[in-house]
Amino acid sequence: MLNMLCRLLALLAFSTVLCGGPAVAEMTKSLNINGTTGLIDMPSGEAQDDAAFTFSTALVGPLTRATISFQFSERLSGSFRFSTFRDWDTLFPGESSKLNDRSFDIRYLLLKESAYLPSVTVGLIDFTGQGLLSSEYVAATKSFGDRVKVTAGLGWGRLGTDGSIGQPFGDRPALATSDFGKPSIDQWFRGDAAPFAGVEVKLTDRWTFKGEYSSDAYLLEDDERGIIERDSPFNFGFEYQKGQNTRYGIYSLYGTEVGFVFHLILDPKNRATGGVMGAAPVAVKARPPRSADPEAYDGDWVTQADAGPLLRRNLAKRLAVDGIIVENLAFTASTVQIRIRNTRIDAGAQAVGRTARALSHVMPASVEVFEIVPVVNGIGASKVSIRRSDLEQLEYAADNSTLLRDHVTITDAGPVPANAVGDDGLYPKFRWSLRPAFRMSEPLKGDLGLRLSASYDIRPGLVVAGSIYGRVVGNVDRSGDPSSSVLPHVRSDSARYAKFGDPALEQLTLAWFARPAPDFYSRVTVGYLERMHAGISGEVLWKPVDSRLAMGVELNYTKQRDTDGQLGFGEYDYDIVTGHVSAYYDFGNGYLGQLDVGKYLAGDIGATMSIDRVFVNGWRVGAFATVTDASAEDFGEGGFDKGIRFTVPLNWALGNQSTRNFGATLRPSTGDGGARLEVDGRLYDSIRDYHSDALDPEWGRVWR
């Protein structure tokens, strides 16, 4: 148990045992106690390196701030913060002793630093919450040599509360309670503005000194709540950089407090292992030249009765080492089509390459065309056609992946050939696993439990699957209190579901996946679809293999499940038809957008916009927002549904062959408005993996 807890901690922080290395020569773009680029409490004018994903935890007396930040593009970054104010009842005995708050920040690098000009950033802090940390700023940072950086800025909101120079853009209206959770546009850059400044001095490769003059008077914490005494605007302290990935800080804050911070800095672009690990492939088997051995090219072997099963068995054996399962095999004297299920390799291109190599060993010499069809959920996702002679000729050519791609076609998978040697019990139809599962609900909240999952393939594309989850440890809300939401409690009773259904049947479904027509994919799922809802869900997706655009329609009829995690529906007596029309677009360079318009679980109608950045290695970070006709008052705290999500492939850190991920969706508040059914096996993400927009960026791995 203790051992497991330790591992959970390792999971949460991803690492505190990193080996140290000397810091890089140029000064790090450091982070502040708010987990954003900056000094100590103040922001700076810089941005993190593109794609930097950081996790920061700060402790200042009664304040805790845990922040996830992501440099979404070179200039744009966003942060999600979970703050706790302890001793909240100091001046108000009887009130709750703790206040939790969640906030979003966004910042944009206006100007990059040059020889004479500083870097300049404009940013919004807590721009869509209840305003406890709300502020806006413009900050400039200039470095002098490779050891000194100076920052100066102008702040509004909290950052304009000490040493105001006036109100350049007029009054700052108070934030109405009804506007909590909406972008607080009327407040931005209004009210008192105050300057702040700071300096950062690199003492050694690992140690940095920071000092700042803060324009935040801490009115909320000092004057209103009496939990922090602010005696001085000056903060100073030291930071220690350990390796490229961790940074620690200790500071004197506002003359009275000592602050600690820990930053974990990850680079999703680059593998922690330095490169794709995993065993080498077998060499392509060269056929004898036709002139030397014309008989080898004779196609008579196709008439042998046992040719199919024999070839299929040999291929299955060769591909098993890479976790590739042969769904079926069809061939003529000159062409082979193999349908594969890739269970371990994280890049489709590499799975295709490994399959082609195996075919070169097993198929008789007369077979010239290899058609490889990756199968997802029992349906063909695409067809990659490779000429065997290209494979033979390009194996050792310079720039072999580019050359091979020029000769390969990726097309619609098409139907299963009539002569396919299929499913004869050679692959396991029944699969199960019992694994620890970590469910993260906020930057410092989640629970760790055990998940027992099993599935059975009745035939390709027709699957029965189920899972049971039991919690072991965690700190999510298990009060069992019903929510006060005025909407149907389609999501907000999570504390009841957490308390009364442990362990709980998460899912028990029958899913049918099919290809109704070229470029069309379909799914029907019936049963206990998710923890809170059960029913039937149907989806059709249109996605040509070489198209950046995809369109989908989904229709669901569901009833709300009991909180006890069993099979009943007596508790809520709630059923609803929901559905969406979705458009998906691949903007290139790893940016994917999605727009869903339709009816949500509480009966509200609206739209969800999301944008994700995906990396070739499988990292994915994104944000979403849903606006529906449910009023902000009805939605409750937060006003509308929004959040961030991320997925970290385990093999990015480990290098082993695995398609397992760690991921989470984090919301500032979970309301009943804008809630969508959670159903496994949605078509777009699984299908897209084998379409050219996903295969091409990772094509360099085809020869891996």
């Binding site: 922690a272 396991p428 082993n656």
Partner: protein, 232 residues
């Protein structure tokens, strides 16, 4: 940042993350790395037990007790490959031969592909050399000759990375080297390659018409590999 440091750091991160992925679990499907497969014979299994793969330090430990007689008993060609950045030292055997291109494999899933002794590909090392436009053996025997060399690495971002160099060959007279306690009369060939961002030097010790020993760049991440043809 030096190679050793990079590898060291990554080993550290990997160790940390292993504690995540190896959370105890069981089931009908495994997701651990696959074995290399069938390419390597018994000889490698018996000798490559000595491969040292250490995450710390860059000093390569010599495999202690094996003698030339031990290796000769197998009656197979054997190449010794040392990857300093990986702290690895292995005797490897042929897994595949196509004309003048030979792929040598370790038992732990790495391969080195050489054309007439000139490295053109690696696999299983992480930031691998995926392909290369490399000089022929004849190019390396022309003193003062020039050629273009292009490396195609698989970078740590999973993207093919191309590095193009202009190279010049220098031959410095004959010398005698010792390879696994046997003396060989060789001529030393230095291939100096430059590009705007920097220069690298590959070294070859050529005996007659074959490369006996070499030190060649594999990739930016892996660094140089030292090869010795121990048993012909």
């Amino acid at each position: 940042m030096g190679q050793g440091v990079a590898v060291k750091f990554r080993a550290g991160l990997a160790v940390a993350a292993i504690s995540v992925a190896l959370l105890p679990g069981c089931g009908s499907e495994k997701s651990e790395g696959s074995p290399l497969g069938q390419a390597v014979g018994a000889v490698a299994k018996s000798t490559i037990g000595m491969v040292t793969a250490r995450s710390k330090g860059t000093v390569v430990a010599a495999p202690a007790p094996v003698t030339r007689a031990d290796l000769e008993k197998f009656g197979l060609p054997i190449l010794r490959a040392r990857v300093a950045a990986r702290g690895a030292d292995a005797f490897v055997t042929m897994a595949d031969t196509k004309g003048n291109v030979v792929t040598w494999a370790t038992t732990d899933g790495s391969t080195f592909t050489l054309r007439d002794g000139v490295l053109i590909q690696t696999r299983g090392l992480g930031p691998d050399l995926m392909s290369a436009q490399a000089p022929s053996l004849a190019d390396l025997q022309a003193d003062g000759g020039t050629h273009r060399r292009i490396y195609y690495f698989l970078g740590e971002d999973d993207q093919p990375t191309r590095r193009t160099y202009d190279c010049t060959v220098f031959i410095t007279g004959g010398e005698t080297i010792e390879v696994f306690s046997r003396a060989h009369r060789v001529k030393r060939v230095t291939e100096t390659c430059v590009r705007p961002q920097g220069a690298i030097t590959n070294e070859f010790w050529i005996e007659g018409a074959a490369i006996r020993k070499s030190r060649q760049l594999a990739s930016g991440g892996v660094g140089f590999i030292e090869f010795e043809r121990v048993i012909d």
